[in-house]
Symmetry: C2
Subunit: 502 residues, 2 copies
Amino acid sequence: MNLDRIRKKSLHSKICSAEEAAMLIKDGMVLGISGFTKFGDARAVPRALVKRAQNGEKIAVTLMTGASIGSNLDEDLGDTGVIARRGPYQGSEKLRGHINRGEVMYLDQHLSHTGEYMRFGHMPKADVAIIDATCIDENGGIVCTTSVGNNALYALTAEKVIVEVNETHSPDMFGLHDIYVPETRPGRKPIPLVNPWDKIGVPVIPVNPEKIAAIVVHQLPDEAVSLVPGDAETDAIAGHLIEFLKHEVKKGRLTNALLPLQSGVGAVANAVLRGFEDSPFTGLSMFTEVAQDTVLDLLDSGRMKVVSTAALSLTEKYRSRLKDVKKLHGKLILRPQDVSNNPELIRRLGVIACNTALEYDIYGNVNSTHVLGSKMMNGIGGSGDFARNALYTCFVTKSYARGGALSSVVPMVTHHDHTEHDVDILITERGLADLRGLAPRERVRVIIDNTAHPDYREALRDYAKEAFAAGGHTPHILAQAFSFHTRFAATGSMLPQPAPQA
Amino acid sequence: MNLDRIRKKSLHSKICSAEEAAMLIKDGMVLGISGFTKFGDARAVPRALVKRAQNGEKIAVTLMTGASIGSNLDEDLGDTGVIARRGPYQGSEKLRGHINRGEVMYLDQHLSHTGEYMRFGHMPKADVAIIDATCIDENGGIVCTTSVGNNALYALTAEKVIVEVNETHSPDMFGLHDIYVPETRPGRKPIPLVNPWDKIGVPVIPVNPEKIAAIVVHQLPDEAVSLVPGDAETDAIAGHLIEFLKHEVKKGRLTNALLPLQSGVGAVANAVLRGFEDSPFTGLSMFTEVAQDTVLDLLDSGRMKVVSTAALSLTEKYRSRLKDVKKLHGKLILRPQDVSNNPELIRRLGVIACNTALEYDIYGNVNSTHVLGSKMMNGIGGSGDFARNALYTCFVTKSYARGGALSSVVPMVTHHDHTEHDVDILITERGLADLRGLAPRERVRVIIDNTAHPDYREALRDYAKEAFAAGGHTPHILAQAFSFHTRFAATGSMLPQPAPQA
């Protein structure tokens, strides 16, 4: 064991095994742990909790993170009953099952809300924080790893802190993080960030070393994420976005440096960013919550000059680039989600936000989370923080799913994460709908004609025609608003005349 | 005519009749006019437009305001076809009819969005601004009246400005207004407001006097608003809110000065504020978009020390108090809605927001605007700006309407203005539902048991029970989600077994 990573010598006595550290955690506690878009998650101690549960111990906790965690942790913690409550985001297919069966209570929060709520007392504070660290400095300050997320929140407010010193991270990570904690109220001052590249905090989490109850040293690497590669349709989506932004430059609203970009998590988002590689845009910046593979390429090529984010989230090939993390200094800033997702900053900077929709409706309302209105997919994550405060709020999706059995454009979405008030631009492989300045009735034609799959256009137009005739500012026929969805549930397809079953 | 009110002498030559000034306005133009919650609206020149239309001239414009306008302007401009497009808010029963018949295209916007969108170019700028003024200073700067709203936006960005010097307003209004305009991007700096009472701008709209194309002097007063008086049920709502806030003080989250309050427009909102008169809270402040009657009483009694707002909106009795407006200096600050409704400031200050719901559902989603999903009532106004960024987001309503034929609590709202992610507290005369930290399934019981009308509780529980059995994180039965509403449309009541028709 290399004690160089624990520079405050008085803390050496706290070094213990994951199993020993896990004994600090009792049934019924609130845990606040590292992890955002699967990177930089605390993993050694949670694994020990899984083992305790597998050995028959009853231990059920409220598990709070930054966002999704990797290493199959949500799967195993969920399956063994360790997770009674979970927030503010998860991205696990198995945990989702527990949530949708009502076995796990899920607090699906805007990622900017968790810190506000917990510090203020709207939610209980963590009893124990478990923080993934590169090292601990001379004063006990924690140097984060590949995500910051809610690390500062949990480390600074929890009763006790367990630090997982993760030796797979280069010590050169030091200096990438900018830890800033919003002040209490009344009297909270403006957050002094004016550009995505501004540093406003300190490089470590300045935790009181007396709160550090255990230190676990391990060599478990970030689990590389897998991303479905882009295809002709995601290329088309990217193309429509780039053409739109070129149009905005032509109109004089933007320069070729655009304004700070935000991009959601996942394969489509990553593929859409690819479109910037061959674009006329240079001197780009991002003010975002996650940086996926393409971001590293854009930084490498010099097309993008800086990325401000709460986390990295990389596939195997790109993760290995972090061995030479020095190259990223000055280009990459990792921030708490209190900062990356803060409405104050998103509005001030004029962010161009691009997130993925599950479905949207003919008036521009967006469902990001719920399948057929009831079943949670992942969670709203930061999409609401950005959609509600960005200068350009764009949502992207393919126009169909399940081989055409599902239309992404529906009469009324079955769950509303983002209302028509907040949505400017909708993009599918078919085209782009620019909703700016349009009344609801005017949006319908643009959305259907430009973005719906041709197989569904007639049915959507029929619905709108009947609704318009019945009247209203946002005309709906309530008895038919979910007819696409109930048809899918009954026949396996939203199409009016489903193809014969194979 | 008292020329003292137009202190820049070179502008005296611009004085003309309302009819002459109105000739600056052509068919197809965008007009940006004063007016917010009916007070401080431009009225002389719009009246002249009505006359032109009544005389057979085709003149149809896009009419943008701060929020609602008074003096029956929306009614008459709508009925004569002068309003082709309208934004960002209206509160007129007659104009609502035109909107719901699809005759007027209505841009129902978050009140903080209009300025951002128009300055940036997402929407066309005003060709002509018409600004209600107390006076014009030595440099041509415009002193506003009883509202600021979007006055600075329109006056500073329009091609031409018509000033309506309104002699019914006391010259002592000077100094009540704090005009601040958000900077352009990139490089926009923080808005330097830390307390509701901070002054960050200048007392006049610093318009280029060369843009002032006409000045109309008139003596048409603000039209007093009418408010339904409070009753036992609004008293009960106020009581639940006060009890809740006392509980928050007891828990140590708030002091007796609370945090800045926001209250929506209308009779219920005004009645709820009455509850503070006999409360233990002192040293109160408001950071809000409208100040109604009760606010003047709270200032008078000293219980409230300062109100920051975009507008006043008063009944006859309270309006007359403005004759002695000097008393309000130091206690009342009138601001642009770019400031009063800014997400940056609402989040920073930790506002306690209290707005009125039309209906809400068993998971906490709120409909503020649409009757039976299609028909616009007024508009979202600033409720979204506050709901999405406040520290406490509360919605109030009576638990029923139309003598019990409508339940305010429904299985699924027919229009989503505020999503379950943003709603903390729901209050009816029956009680208060505290949703903080609850998962959707947990909210159902609290909402039904504490706030629904007893006549509807069983039907709501039956729906939830069936939905829970079907599964999901937010369980719904899509085919029955709007059963309350379709039953009302069919039978005149949401009750499962409607009473015999009288």
